[in-house]
């Protein structure tokens, strides 16, 4: 490694004040994560169209580039060159700023996500709280977009989305209380460390109901099918982003997919052991890289959950709105409260798979 970098560069780096070194290193890390997330988002649109295509016995995109692999870039350039139309009766400032308000929290949350046991942009103590706080801020983009458009359809979509996100956030928060009790820490890295030791040590086992609640709430929180009533093409045209075109629409699209990747990453961190390998204790595999925790496993788990997102979309019909509200308030919240009680009693009595939990 030292031979690759010229000596004068190492010298200049060492002569810099620590503050400057820290800022440069952090900016570099942020750039890597940002480019990675945007690339994953771009290719998840391709992945989605291929998966749903094969489930519906179609081919999917295959014209642009080999196997259609350049399709995401074609879509992005098409959107970039389209005109952004601002409705004359809209609130201009809020109309323009709304897509940004939904994208910024979706990207900023990646600051505390640990990619492997060393790489994380900000290793803060209250990481889980930070995740909860920032994901709850994302709803502003949707509400403001719906209101600023000054259209009935957009406003209806915004109202639906706001009520839905507020309802499911509570269930998500309660599910994370269970994770926090099991991990004994608010730091995401520590939560992953607490799940090391193979498949049976993942929080999926003792917290299975909380995993179901968290995952389904995550699907509802990102406004994805079967909970996509905020867009509801058949009822309210396209909901909150009906008047958005070109780059402004692309930003909403980017925010939605960035949120999906984020929920996939968070679910794998909280319940599937993050970067940890499922085969850690399996000695017969030899010294394979499969037994060691690495970014490979984290990425594989994200891909699994992204696939599940698309699978759900291809399989289920859309929920009715009052049933969505009932599922959030009357089913998920009681389930999480009961399971937190069960978890604390079991961990206290040291019974079964709960006996190893920190709580």
């Amino acid at each position: 490694m030292t031979g690759l970098i010229p000596q004068f560069l190492v010298d200049t780096w060492n002569s810099l004040p620590p503050m400057v070194q820290y800022v440069t290193l952090s900016s570099f890390k942020i750039l890597i994560v940002l480019i990675g997330v945007v690339l994953v988002v771009a290719y998840s649109t391709y992945f989605e169209r291929k998966v749903i295509g094969s489930m519906q016995a179609r081919v999917g995109p295959n014209r642009v580039g080999p196997l259609g692999l350049l399709q995401p870039f074609a879509d992005v350039f098409k959107l970039l060159f389209k005109e952004v139309i601002i409705p004359s009766e809209s609130n201009r400032f809020l109309f323009v700023i709304a897509p940004l308000l939904s994208l910024i929290p979706a990207l900023a949350t990646w600051a505390v996500i640990p990619m492997n046991d060393t790489f994380v942009i900000a290793d803060i103590n209250a990481g889980l709280l930070y995740v909860l706080a920032l994901t709850s801020v994302g709803v502003y983009g949707v509400i403001l977009a719906g209101w600023a458009t000054n259209s009935k359809y957009a406003f209806l979509g915004a109202m639906r989305s706001a009520a839905q996100i507020v309802a499911y956030e509570i269930a998500m928060g309660f599910a994370l209380v269970g994770v926090l009790m099991a991990g004994g820490s608010l730091n995401l890295g520590d939560i992953v460390e607490a799940q090391s030791g193979g498949l049976s040590n993942w929080f999926l086992v003792p917290l299975f109901p909380l995993f179901l609640v968290y995952w389904i709430s995550g699907v509802a929180e990102t406004n994805r099918a079967p909970f996509d009533v905020a867009e509801g093409e058949s009822e309210i045209v396209a909901g909150f982003h009906v008047e958005y075109s070109g780059v402004a629409f692309a930003l909403f699209f980017l925010a939605e997919y960035a949120n999906m990747v984020l929920i996939a990453a968070l679910t794998s961190i909280f319940f599937f052991g993050g970067w940890a390998s499922p085969f850690e204790g399996w000695t017969f595999l030899g010294d394979s890289f499969l037994r060691e925790g690495s970014f490979f496993w984290f990425f594989a788990k994200i891909c699994l959950f992204m696939y599940t997102f698309f699978w759900l979309r291809a399989t289920f019909p859309r929920y009715r709105y009052d049933q969505i509200m009932r599922l959030g308030w009357k089913v998920f919240i009681p389930v999480t409260i009961v399971w937190i009680a069960v978890e604390s009693v079991m961990a206290w009595m040291r019974v079964g798979p709960w006996s190893g939990l920190a709580g």
């Binding site: 609130n91 509400i143 403001l144 406003f155």
Partner: protein, 201 residues
């Protein structure tokens, strides 16, 4: 630390500007957004004072939940801006009086504290490995556990009261029983009758 002082004054100035914006903005939705900006700046100031738990909880509770409901209500209400503007001048003397009382109280408090405590020593940096969340929890669940429990009971009471106030059943209203709809099975709705094929006449 001159850099930290600069940051403090920058965020404090933005916060005061945003707070003024809440009062003077013509559009109520803009007022709500200014209030959100104020909360964010308050959270940043708390972060700089190494109170990360309070800062994140401020964003989580106020920005993420309370202000969303606020925005929800204000968008539905169609507030008459002219009437609100007239109220601003009418209630100005009262508002200024309350503000003055609060400023005097704050100055008294700072003066009292400065007599017996050295301000600079009470803001000493925290030791290595200090966790704000853990420290807060340790105090809340031991020393102040009764006050904490009483606060929790009062909040629960508020939830129950709000639900009982809004729960009313109007007679003669047709409602769907969702659990009944979900648990319906095909054999409840259709009957399959087996019969012989009829002969052609």
């Amino acid at each position: 630390m001159i850099f930290e002082a600069m940051l403090f004054y920058l965020f404090a100035a933005v916060m005061i500007g945003a707070a003024l914006g809440v009062v003077f903005a013509k559009n109520p939705v803009h007022s709500v957004m200014f209030l959100v900006l104020t909360f964010f700046n308050a959270a940043i100031l708390w972060l700089m004072a190494e109170a990360e738990f309070l800062a994140i909880v401020l964003v989580l509770v106020y920005v993420g939940a309370v202000m969303v409901l606020f925005l929800f209500v204000i968008m539905m209400l169609e507030v008459n801006v002219e009437a609100v503007k007239r109220g601003l001048t009418r209630y100005a003397p009262l508002a200024i009086a309350i503000a003055l009382i609060m400023v005097i109280e704050l100055i008294q408090l700072i003066w009292l504290r400065s007599r017996d405590v050295q301000i600079s020593s009470s803001f000493a940096p925290n030791p290595e490995g200090y966790e704000n969340t853990k420290a807060l929890g340790a105090v809340l669940y031991t020393e102040h556990v009764y006050a904490f429990e009483i606060a929790a009971v009062i909040l629960l009471l508020a939830i129950v009261a709000a639900i009982t106030l809004t729960m009313r059943k109007r007679p003669g209203l047709k409602v769907q029983d969702i659990s009944k709809q979900v648990s319906v099975r095909a054999k409840d709705r259709i009957r399959i009758v087996k019969m012989d094929a009829e002969k052609k006449q």
